[in-house]
C-alpha cells in the first residue's frame, strides 16, 4: 500500500525535481536584470540587433535544416540498406560533445585545415593557407553547419523511437496502394502521426541551437557574436558592473527563445493546413521520390563524412608530432600528448563515470516509476506536465544556472558530487524519458493481462515481465542519460564550484588554450565513455537473453 502511494506520487516528485531548480535558478539569475538599469545599458549596446538576428537566424536555419534532413532520410530511405548504414554510422556520433565536434569541424574546414592540406599544393597550388573567411563568417554559416551536424543524429534517433507508435508500415502500405509516391505518402500519412511525439524534441533542438555557447564561440561570428556567446562573455567579465547587463541579456534571450517557439508553432499550423490542401488535390507526387531520395541520401552521407572526418582529425592530432601546412599527415606519430594528459586523466575519468552513473541510474529509476505509475493508475501526463519536463532543455542554461549555483551556495550543498549529480539529473532525465517512453508504452498490455490472470501482482508483473522484456530500451535510455551527463559543462563548473573535475571541464579549460593535441586526447575519452555505455547497453541484454530466441533484436 505504501509502495503504491509512493509510486502514485512519483510523477509529481519527478516534475518537482525538474522544474524546481529551473524556476529557482531563473529567479536568482534574472533578478539583477531589474537592478542598475541593466536593460537600458543592454539596449545601448550597438551589437544587440545583430547578435539577436544571429541567434534567431542560426537557430532557426539549423533546426529546419536538420529536421528536413532527418525527415527526408526516414521518408525516402527507411528500410533500405543505405539507411541502415547511415543510421549505424550516425548513432555513435550522438555521443560527441558539442565543443569537440566544433573544434574537429573547425580543423577540417579552415583554410589551413585538413581538407586544404590534403589538396595542397598538388591540386590547389597553395604553399601557404589562403586568406579565406570560412570559419567565423559574419552570417553564421559555419555555425549553422556545425549545429546541423550535431542535431541530425539526435532528431533521427528520436524520430525512429517515435515511429513504432505511428503504425507507419500499414499507413505506408495504404498510401502505396492508393498510388502515392513513397515520400509523399510518408509526409501525408505518417508525419502527422509522429509529429506530436517529436514536437518537444524539435523545440528542444531549436532552443538549444539558439543558446549554444561552445559551438558559437568556436565556429560562430565574433563581431558581434551570437547573443548567447556574448552573455557568457559578460557573465565572466572581471568588470562586475556589467553583470546586470548580462542578466538583462539572459531575459532577452529567454524572450527570443519563447518567440521562436511561438513562431515554430504558427508555422506548424500553417504547414498542416498546406498539407491538408495538398492531400485534397489528390496528386500522387511520385516525382518527389526521384529527387528527394538522392538528396536526402547525399545530405545524410555528408553529415556522416564531416562528423567522422572531424573526429578522425582530432584523433590524429592527439598522436601528432610536428604537423605543418601543407602536409596531409603529421611528420611522425608520438604519445607525448597522451603522456602529458595522463596524470589528470584517471581522477577526472573516475569522477565523470561516477556522476554519469549516479545521474543516469537515478533518472532511469524515476522515469520507470513515472511510466509504471502511468500504466498502473491510468495517469495521463497532461500537456503542462510534458512542458515542465522539457523546461530544462528549453531554457537557456546561462539564464538559470548562475541563480541555481547561488542557491546551492546558500544552502551549503554546492561543491559536492551529490549536488552536481542532482544538477545533471535535471538535464539527463528529459532525455531518458524521451528515449524510454515510446517503447515502454508500446509494450503489449495483453501480456500483463495474461500475467494477472495467472495471479501475478502488479509488482511481479513489473519485475518479472515488463522490465525484463524491455531491458534493452531501458538500458539504451540509461546510456543516453549517461552520455548527456558526460557532456555537461556549465552545470558541473557552476554547481561543483570548480572542485568537481570531469573530463568535460578539463577539456573545455584546455580548449581555451587551443592546443589541438591535448584537445584531441580529451575529446577521444569524452567520446569513449558514452560509447562504452552504449556497448554495455547492447551487450548486457544479449548476454542475459542468449538462450531466448524471442528476445533477440529484430525478433
Amino acid at each position: 500500500m505504501t509502495a503504491d502511494g509512493a509510486l502514485r506520487f512519483a510523477p509529481r516528485l519527478t516534475l518537482l525535481l525538474m522544474a524546481g531548480p529551473v524556476i529557482a535558478g531563473l529567479a536568482g539569475t534574472l533578478r539583477p536584470a531589474f537592478e542598475a538599469d541593466g536593460m537600458a545599458r543592454l539596449l545601448d549596446w550597438p551589437g544587440l540587433a545583430r547578435a539577436v538576428a544571429l541567434s534567431l537566424g542560426t537557430g532557426i536555419a539549423s533546426t529546419l535544416l536538420s529536421l528536413a534532413i532527418a525527415l527526408g532520410l526516414v521518408a525516402a530511405l527507411q528500410g533500405g540498406r543505405l539507411f541502415t548504414l547511415i543510421l549505424r554510422l550516425l548513432s555513435p556520433l550522438l555521443a560527441v560533445p558539442h565543443a569537440a565536434a566544433a573544434l574537429g569541424l573547425a580543423f577540417l574546414l579552415a583554410p589551413s585545415g585538413w581538407i586544404a592540406r590534403a589538396l595542397s599544393p598538388w591540386a590547389t597550388g597553395w604553399t601557404q593557407p589562403p586568406d579565406l573567411l570560412i570559419l567565423n563568417d559574419p552570417a553564421g554559416l559555419a555555425l549553422t553547419a556545425g549545429l546541423v551536424l550535431k542535431e541530425v543524429p539526435f532528431l533521427l534517433l528520436i524520430l525512429i523511437a517515435a515511429l513504432p507508435q505511428a503504425d507507419a508500415p500499414r499507413r505506408l502500405m495504404l498510401m502505396a496502394s492508393l498510388g502515392y509516391g513513397r515520400v509523399a505518402g510518408w509526409m501525408l500519412s505518417v508525419l502527422p502521426a509522429v509529429w506530436p511525439q517529436m514536437r518537444p524534441a524539435v523545440y528542444a533542438v531549436l532552443a538549444y541551437s539558439m543558446t549554444a555557447v561552445d559551438m558559437a564561440i568556436v565556429l560562430g561570428p565574433a563581431l558581434p557574436p551570437t547573443l548567447s556567446a556574448q552573455l557568457v562573455l559578460w557573465m565572466t567579465s572581471p568588470d562586475l558592473s556589467i553583470h546586470p547587463v548580462a542578466a538583462a541579456g539572459a531575459l532577452v534571450q529567454l524572450g527570443l527563445v519563447l518567440a521562436a517557439l511561438a513562431l515554430l508553432r504558427c508555422a506548424e499550423t500553417g504547414l498542416a493546413r498546406l498539407g491538408c490542401r495538398l492531400a485534397l488535390t489528390g496528386r500522387r507526387q511520385i516525382w518527389a521520390d526521384r529527387w528527394l531520395a538522392p538528396l536526402a541520401a547525399g545530405a545524410g552521407l555528408l553529415v556522416v563524412l564531416l562528423m567522422a572526418g572531424s573526429m578522425a582529425g582530432l584523433a590524429l592530432w592527439s598522436f601528432a608530432g610536428p604537423w605543418v601546412f601543407p602536409d596531409a599527415l603529421p611528420q611522425r606519430l608520438e604519445l607525448d600528448a597522451w603522456a602529458r594528459a595522463a596524470p589528470g586523466l584517471g581522477p577526472a575519468a573516475l569522477e565523470t563515470v561516477l556522476l554519469a552513473a549516479l545521474s543516469a541510474a537515478l533518472a532511469t529509476g524515476l522515469v520507470l516509476a513515472c511510466l509504471e505509475a502511468e500504466s498502473r493508475f491510468g495517469l495521463k501526463p497532461g500537456g503542462g506536465a510534458l512542458w515542465l519536463l522539457w523546461l530544462p532543455l528549453i531554457m537557456p542554461q546561462v539564464a538559470f544556472l548562475p541563480g541555481l549555483a547561488e542557491l546551492g551556495l546558500r544552502t551549503g550543498v554546492e561543491g559536492s558530487t551529490g549536488a552536481v549529480a542532482a544538477a545533471h539529473l535535471v538535464f539527463v532525465l528529459p532525455y531518458v524519458f524521451l528515449s524510454l517512453a515510446a517503447p515502454w508504452r508500446a509494450w503489449d498490455p495483453r501480456i500483463a493481462v495474461a500475467g494477472a490472470a495467472l495471479g501475478a501482482t502488479p509488482g511481479r508483473i513489473f519485475w518479472r515481465l515488463r522490465l525484463p522484456m524491455l531491458l534493452r530500451p531501458v538500458l539504451t535510455a540509461a546510456a543516453v542519460g549517461f552520455a548527456v551527463s558526460v557532456g555537461q559543462y556549465l552545470p558541473t563548473l557552476l554547481i561543483g564550484g570548480g572542485r568537481v573535475t570531469t573530463l568535460t571541464t578539463e577539456a573545455v579549460a584546455l580548449s581555451s588554450g587551443g592546443n589541438r593535441r591535448i584537445i584531441g586526447t580529451f575529446a577521444m575519452l569524452q567520446l569513449a565513455l558514452p560509447l562504452l555505455a552504449f556497448a554495455l547497453a547492447l551487450a548486457l541484454p544479449a548476454a542475459l537473453f542468449r538462450n531466448r530466441a524471442g528476445m533477440r533484436p529484430g525478433a
Partner: protein, 410 residues
C-alpha cells in the same frame, strides 16, 4: 521501487552532511608576520589554487609546485583549472552575496590587472600579506617596479608576484627576414604582405595590450598613459591609434572580418602558417613551442625599438579563503629561488623571474645561469626596456572603443 527511493534518500543525506561540514566554527585569519604559526596552521591543509588551465605546460608546473608544497610544508595544493580568471572573481563575489564570509572555495587566485583592481576595489582580498612573506626580500622591487605596481594600481601587499612577462613579437624568419621594429614599420610590412598579420580581438587581454603597445608608439607624451583616462583629452590622444588601425585593418588576416579569440588562438595561426607575425606575453613561449614540435624551427622573436609592455603575474588570497595559511605558504614557495629557476627554464615555462639575481646566494644564482634560454628566446639584455602598463582605465576605454568601431561590424 525501493532502490529508487533509497537512492533519493541517500542524496539528501549526503547534502545534509555537506551542509554540516561547511558550517564550521569561525577561525581567526592567519597573521603572515608570525611565520612559524602560519606554517603550523598550514600543515595538513588543502589549498585550492584557481588558475587559468588552458596551457598544459603551466598545469604541469603547478603539479610540480604541489609536490614541493607537500614534501616541504605538508600542504596539499590542487589547481582548479579555469577557462577564465574572471570565473574565480565571480565565484568570490557570489559567495559574498550569499553571505559566506568564511570557508570560501577559492584559496588562491592567479591574477593581475583588471581582475585585481576589481577585487581590491570591492574589498574581496585578504591581506596585506605579500611584503611579510619570508622570501619577499629576494624580490627585485627596484629593478622590476611592476612587482608592486599592477597596471599603475599599487598592490599594497594584497597580491604577491610570481612571474614577469614582457610582450615579444614572434615571426617566421623564413618568410620575414627583417621583422618590423615599431608600429610604423609593422603597418608598412602588413600593407606589403596583406593577410599575414592579426591580433586577438579586444577585450581579450593580449589584443588590448597590443593596442596599448601601438598607442605607446604613436602618442606624443607616453607618460600620460600612466594617468587615468581624461575624457577631455582622450579623443585627441588616441586619434593616431585609430588612424593607424583604419589603415592596417584592410591588410589584416581575413581583412579584419574575423580575429583570433586569444593568445593561444593567435599562436595556433602562426603554427598553421596562416600568419607570419604573432606576439605573446611570454618571452620564452616560442622556444618552448618549437621544442615541443608545435612551431616551425624558423620562428624567432624580437621586440620594438623603445621597448615593449611588461607586467607581472601575481597570486592573491580572497578575504574568505578557507585555507589562507596554506595559501600564504604557497605564495611564499612561489618566490623560492628553486621554484623561480624552474619557471624560467624554457623547457618548463620560460617565464622570467621576479627575483633580484644579485640578492641570491651563489648556489641559487648558478641555477639561473645554467639555464639554456632556447633557440628563439632573446637574452635579457636584448629584450630592451619593459614599458610600464598604462593605467587600467586605458585598457577598459580602448577595448570599449575598439568594440564600438570594429567589434559589431557596422
Amino acid at each position: 521501487m525501493n532502490a529508487v527511493w533509497g537512492g533519493a534518500m541517500k542524496m539528501s543525506a549526503a547534502a545534509i552532511v555537506v551542509a554540516a561540514c561547511t558550517a564550521l566554527p569561525a577561525v581567526a585569519q592567519p597573521d603572515p608576520s608570525d611565520w612559524a604559526a602560519v606554517l603550523q596552521e598550514a600543515r595538513g591543509q588543502t589549498v585550492y589554487w584557481h588558475a587559468w588551465g588552458g596551457d598544459p605546460r603551466i598545469n604541469d608546473f603547478i603539479l610540480w609546485v604541489a609536490d614541493e608544497a607537500l614534501s616541504r610544508h605538508g600542504v596539499s595544493l590542487t589547481q582548479v583549472k579555469l577557462a577564465s580568471t574572471a570565473d574565480a572573481v565571480a565565484r568570490v563575489v557570489s559567495e559574498k552575496q550569499a553571505g559566506q564570509d568564511q570557508g570560501g572555495a577559492v584559496d588562491l587566485i592567479w591574477i593581475n590587472g583588471e581582475n585585481f583592481a576589481a577585487m581590491k576595489g570591492k574589498g574581496l582580498l585578504f591581506g596585506p600579506f605579500a611584503e611579510q612573506l619570508p622570501n619577499w626580500p629576494l624580490v627585485d622591487v627596484a629593478g622590476k617596479p611592476a612587482t608592486r605596481m599592477d597596471f599603475t594600481e599599487p598592490t599594497l601587499g594584497l597580491e604577491s608576484p610570481w612571474a614577469m612577462a614582457q610582450l615579444v613579437f614572434e615571426y617566421d624568419s623564413a618568410r620575414v627576414p627583417a621583422p618590423p621594429l615599431g608600429a610604423g614599420q609593422l603597418l608598412d610590412w602588413a600593407k606589403a604582405n596583406p593577410g599575414r598579420f592579426t591580433y586577438p580581438r579586444p577585450p581579450d587581454y593580449l589584443g588590448t595590450t597590443f593596442l596599448k603597445q601601438v598607442l605607446y608608439g604613436v602618442i606624443d607624451d607616453p607618460d600620460l598613459l600612466l594617468q587615468p583616462v581624461d575624457p577631455a583629452t582622450y579623443d585627441r590622444l588616441t586619434a593616431p591609434l585609430w588612424a593607424w588601425l583604419e589603415e592596417i585593418t584592410p591588410a589584416l588576416w581575413r581583412q579584419g572580418q574575423a580575429y583570433p579569440a586569444n593568445e593561444p588562438a593567435l599562436g595556433q595561426l602562426l603554427a598553421d602558417g596562416e600568419i607570419d607575425i604573432a606576439f605573446a606575453f611570454n618571452t620564452g613561449r616560442a622556444s618552448a613551442a618549437i621544442a615541443a614540435g608545435e612551431l616551425p624551427q624558423t620562428i624567432r622573436t624580437n621586440t620594438w625599438t623603445g621597448g615593449t609592455i611588461g607586467n607581472a603575474s601575481f597570486v592573491a588570497i580572497p578575504y574568505n579563503a578557507a585555507h589562507a595559511a596554506g595559501a600564504l605558504v604557497v605564495a611564499n614557495l612561489l618566490l623560492d629561488p628553486r621554484v623561480q629557476a624552474r619557471a624560467q627554464d624554457p623547457d618548463v615555462l620560460g617565464f622570467q623571474t621576479v627575483l633580484n639575481l644579485s640578492a641570491l646566494s651563489g648556489q641559487d644564482r648558478a641555477r639561473f645561469d645554467a639555464l639554456d634560454l632556447g633557440i628563439a628566446t632573446l637574452a635579457p639584455h636584448d629584450l630592451g626596456p619593459a614599458l610600464p602598463e598604462p593605467h587600467a582605465s586605458w585598457m577598459t576605454r580602448i577595448s570599449q572603443d575598439w568594440i564600438r568601431r570594429y567589434g559589431v561590424a557596422q
